[in-house]
C-alpha cells in the first residue's frame, strides 16, 4: 500500500531519515584539535579546562552540512529517524545536561494540558518568514498520498482563525515580522507554534544578516523546535504529533524532548 502507516507501524524510510548531526563521543581521546571550528554555524562547543562537559552540539544550529561527521566520524554522527523535534530550545543541545530533565518534564506536561482539545484533530496554518523554499515543499509533502496526514485528523487551513498550530518556516526575515505576528495574534487559544527548520529555530546559515532576526522566536513564542535543513516530512509530522501529545510515551534517550 502506498500510504505509510507511521506512527502506528514502523516505516523504513522514516527510520532511515537523516536528522541533524549528533555527538557520539563527547569525550574523544586526544581532542587537542578545536572541533568547534568544524561547524559553519557555530553549533559545536567544546569545553576546555577542568570541566568535564566535553563536546556538545546545538542541533538548533545544525544545517546538516556533514562536515563534522566527515572530519571526525568517531565524535559525530547523524541522528536518524523522525524524532528530531524538542519541546524546549535547550533540549536541542546534545548530549543533554543531566539536571534538566525535570524541567523538561514540566514543559511536556504543560503542553499536554494545553492541547487536550486538539488530541484527535488539528488544523495547521503555515507562514513563510524567510525560508529558502524547501521547508514549504516538505510541509506540502504531508498532503501527498504517501504521508496523507488527513488520515490522522491533521488538516491545513487557509484561515488563522481556524488554525490550532502555526508552522513557521524561515530565518525571521524582518519584512515578515509584522505579518507573522498579526497571523499569530489572529489565532484563537489554544494555539501552538512550531519553528520548522533550522532557519526558524536559530537563523541557520542566513544569520547573521541585517535583514534577518536569527530565527522566529523573537517574533512569536515557540512551543516546538524542529531543526533540519530542511526537516523531512516525517520529522515535521512527528513535531505536530508531539505538539498535540499524540505520540506514545517513550522511554530512554530523547523521551524528555
Amino acid at each position: 500500500m502506498l500510504t505509510t502507516r507511521w506512527p502506528a507501524r514502523p516505516d523504513p524510510y522514516a527510520a532511515a531519515g537523516r536528522g541533524p548531526a549528533t555527538v557520539l563521543d563527547p569525550h574523544p581521546a586526544g581532542a587537542g584539535e578545536r572541533l568547534d571550528r568544524l561547524c559553519p554555524t557555530g553549533a559545536i562547543s567544546q569545553a576546555d579546562g577542568a570541566s568535564n562537559a566535553g563536546v556538545r552540539l546545538d542541533q538548533g544550529k545544525c544545517v546538516q552540512c556533514g562536515r563534522c561527521v566527515a572530519a571526525r566520524p568517531d565524535v559525530f554522527g547523524w541522528a536518524q529517524g523522525p524524532a528530531v523535534a524538542a519541546r524546549s530550545r535547550e533540549a536541542l543541545v546534545v548530549p543533554e545536561v543531566p539536571e534538566t530533565p525535570e524541567r523538561l518534564a514540566a514543559i511536556r506536561d504543560r503542553l499536554r494540558a494545553r492541547t487536550a482539545a486538539l488530541r484527535r484533530s488539528v488544523h495547521l496554518r503555515h507562514v513563510d518568514a524567510g525560508s529558502d523554499g524547501t521547508e514549504e515543499w516538505e510541509i506540502l509533502a504531508l498532503l501527498n498520498p504517501v504521508y496523507d496526514v488527513h488520515r490522522l485528523g491533521i488538516f491545513l487551513t487557509a484561515s488563522p482563525r481556524h488554525a490550532d498550530i502555526l508552522l513557521v518556516t524561515g530565518a525571521g526575515a524582518r519584512g515578515m515580522a509584522e505579518p507573522l505576528r498579526r497571523t499569530y495574534d489572529a489565532m484563537p487559544e489554544p494555539k501552538i507554534v512550531i519553528a520548522v527548520g533550522t532557519d526558524a529555530v536559530s537563523g541557520g546559515l542566513a544569520s547573521p544578516s541585517y535583514a534577518v532576526a536569527g530565527g522566529i522566536s523573537g517574533i512569536v513564542p515557540v512551543d516546538i523546535w524542529l531543526p533540519g535543513s530542511p526537516p523531512t516530512p516525517f520529522s515535521i509530522l512527528h513535531a505536530v504529533l508531539l505538539a498535540i501529545g499524540r505520540l506514545p510515551a517513550t522511554s530512554g534517550e530523547g523521551a524528555w524532548r
Partner: protein
Amino acid sequence: MSADRISSRLADDATALWAELAGAVAAGQRFAGLFGTARPEGLVLSAHLAGAGDITVAEGIVPSAAAGYPALTPQLGAAFWYEREIADMFGVIPEGHPRPEPLLLPQPAAAPRPMPGEPGGPAAIEPDPRALSLHVVGPGLFTIPHGPVRSGVVESIEYLVETPGEDIPHLNMRVFYKHRGLDKRFEGMTPADGILLAERVEGTAAVAHALAYCHALEHIGGAAVPWTAALVRALHAELERLACHLDVAVRLADGAGLAVATARFGWHKERVLRLVSRACGSRFGRGVVVPGGVSRLPLIGPGELLSEIGRLEKAVTADVAALMGTASFLDRLRRTGPLSPERARKHGALGPVGKASGYSDDAREHRPYDAYPSLGLRQPAPRLAGDALDRLRVRWDEVSQSFHLLRQVADELAEAGDGPLQADCTAADGRAVGWAEAPQGEVLYDLRLEHARITRCHPRSASFHNLVLMHELFAGDILTDFPFIEASLGLSVAGVAR
C-alpha cells in the same frame, strides 16, 4: 568565464556602459543581469551579457559622491528590477527610471544601506513600508492586496491586483517581505562555506546554484572537473529538474481541483525526492556538489538507478498522457497568461517561460558545462503560444529530455569505473562568473575572492529575472486564472527576494 573577458575599460559614468550594452544587445547578445559592488573607487555597475559559449561582464563606475546615475531601464526594459535592487542596496537613484520604487528593502531616502562589496555594514535594517508608494489608479478600481501571508503553503510575496471586478488590468508585486540580505551574508565567507549558502539561496534549485557557484570557483582556481564527478553532477541536476517540474504539475492540478492528478503527481515527486535522498542522504541533493567535483559517488549503483529511473518514467509518462487529455484542465491553461514571443526575446526570458514563447537559450546547449557537452541533449521543438498550457508542455518536454539524460548518465556511470571525484581547486584570489541551467532557467554567480575569502558574491537566479514578467501576463484574464499563471511560471520567491 575568465576574468580577462571582463571589459577592462571602466566607463567613467553609466552612460558609456549603457552604450556598450546597447551595442552588444543589438549585435545579438542577451542582457543577463546588472548588479552593483561598492568599491573604494566608487559604485561599480556590472552587467552580464550572454553570448555564444560565454557570459561576459561589462562594467562602469558611478563616483562615490554621486547621488544618482542615468537609468538603463528606459533603453533596456529588462533592467527594470535590477536597477531597483541597486537603488535599495546602495541608495543611488536611477534617474529616469519609470518606477523608482523599493524592491527588496523599503527605506527612507537617507537611510544606511547594506552596500554589498564594502566590508561591514549595519547589523540590522528594518524595512519601512512607508517608503512604498500607494497608487490611486482611478474611480471604480479596487486594489486587492494578496499576501504576504496567503492561503496554502506558499512563499511570502504580496500581489496587489488592481481590478474593476473580475478582469485584471494591472498587477503590482511586493517581494521585499522575505529578503534575507544574502549578498552581504556571502562576504567574508571561505569558498567552502560559500557553497553551503549558495545551496540555500533558492533551495529547490540547490544543485543548480551549487553548480553555478562552483563553476565560478573552478574557473578562478583552474580546476577541471573529472568525468565521473561531472556525471554525478548531471545526475543530481536532472533529478532536481524532475522534482521542480513535477511540483509545477501538482500546483496546476491542485488549482484545477483535480484530486487524482494532484495525488499522483505528488506521489511521483515524492519518489524523485526519495531517490535523491537514497543517492546522497539529502532529499534536495545538498552536499553533493563540491568545488572541483562531487563529494561522493551515489549510494545506489548504476543498475538500480537505471531501474528506478525506468519505473518512474513509465509511471510519469502514463499520468502525463491522462492529464494532458483532460479537457477541463487544458481549458484552464489554454490562452491563460500569454507571453508573446517578441516580449520573451526582448526580455531574454529564461528557462521554460522563455521556451514556451519560442525563446530558448538553454545553458546546457549553448554554454555547456560538466557532462553536457558529451551527453545527447535532444532539444524538443520550440513552442510559440506562450500561454500557461505551453509552459506546462515545455516542462513535459524537459521531463522527457531529463529521463533521456538520466539514462545516459546511469549507463556512463556503469562504464566509468573508479576515478577521482574531485580536482584540486585552491582558489584564493580572482573573479569569475559561473552558470548552470536550473529548472527555472539560467542561474549566474558572479564571484570575487581576495585572500581566500569571498569579497563579493552575487547570485542571479532565473526566478529574479523572470518574475517581473508577471506584470505582463494578464491580458484578458480574470482573478480565477491567477493561481494558474503563478504556478505556470514555476518560480521561487526565495530566489527573487534573497
